[in-house]
Symmetry: C2
Subunit: 200 residues, 2 copies
């Protein structure tokens, strides 16, 4: 009988992935090394690598975990709201909250990793791009349906609004993480409403 | 008499710094290693390190060069324009052009490096933060004086406008580098004008 049960193996795997997302938020996914995780978690390198097989698989597991955390923080609470403006503003405000109080040491995981991998090739770049595109598609659909519902100015271009909407969390992350600007979350909420042409 | 004249030494130094800014735009400043530069430039490691003394000094030299390139591309052409809206829009449009056709392999040097160092301590973080704050001060002054000149809506909050204005190049860089969106520069120009409350 193996010493670790399946439940214990799963717990170990989750702890490694949680540490990997934290490290990536500070040092990027390239900073997620087997040696660093083993040292941080008091494990052997063999114990870490045994869970994943390769660094690339570990990076992908960190991406999956961060995707799930983002969806749970930003999309899930909004999904219960009425479609249209209430849901769109719920998404925006949850996104601001998520960036203002990220569940990672180094601020927004996605800003760190998408900037790190934007101009590199390879499977991590592709995975980051694909997940970003999926989220953009959801967001564009919500913006377009809110315009169709008559909740937003009819001359609002959904692609233009999408571009501006998703720029704001990036500006917010920099204002908080680089400049320590505590007024930035309120500015980001105002900015989202200005982008949508909604009174603040 | 030393084999290299002062002019040759300066040229060598410039070539190393130019390569360092290119590498940093792709792989971050931590990716700028003496070994990588020596290999890329066909030099010995001693030849590279001899110009700078340490990796930290080389990183600072790359920051200085990138600062100067940004100022020359974005501020210098605008400085000749009439103060007020013409100058502010010239800054914005030059910034869009700079991000759309960055002089580096990996897109905007500043987006890469400020995201890389935002949550780390140390002299590189401080240098990035300080240069960012200097630029923000210039931009806020231009926005505030344009409001005072009556060229912008009088109820525009300069700090709010600054936050939104500087978010746009970040969104643009991601749209281009991660998603390859060729319509993003036009959207960024429209967004800048919307932020300022100027007709497009």
């Amino acid at each position: 009988m193996p010493r670790n049960s399946a439940a214990e193996a799963r717990k170990t795997r989750e702890a490694i992935v949680a540490r990997a997302t934290d490290v990536a938020s500070v040092a990027g996914l390239e900073g997620v090394t087997i040696g660093r995780l083993a040292s941080d978690l008091g494990m052997s390198k063999a114990g870490v690598i045994g869970q994943f097989g390769s660094k690339a698989e570990l990076q992908m597991a960190a991406l999956d975990a961060a995707s799930q955390a983002f969806v749970e923080a930003v999309w899930t609470p909004a999904a219960d709201k009425a479609p249209g403006l209430p849901r769109l503003l719920a998404i925006g405000d949850a996104w601001v909250d998520y960036v203002a109080r990220p569940p990672y040491e180094g601020g927004c995981f996605w800003t760190a990793v998408s900037t790190e991998f934007d101009t590199r090739g390879g499977p991590v770049h592709e995975a980051v791009r694909e997940r970003g595109q999926q989220w953009r598609k959801v967001l564009r659909r919500e913006i377009a349906s809110t315009i169709d519902a008559g909740d937003l100015p009819t001359d609002l271009d959904p692609d233009q609004a999408l571009f501006e909407f998703e720029s704001i969390p990036m500006g917010l992350n920099q204002s908080i993480q680089l400049y320590g600007d505590t007024r930035a979350p309120a500015r980001a909420r105002t900015a989202l409403r200005r982008v949508l042409g909604v009174e603040t």
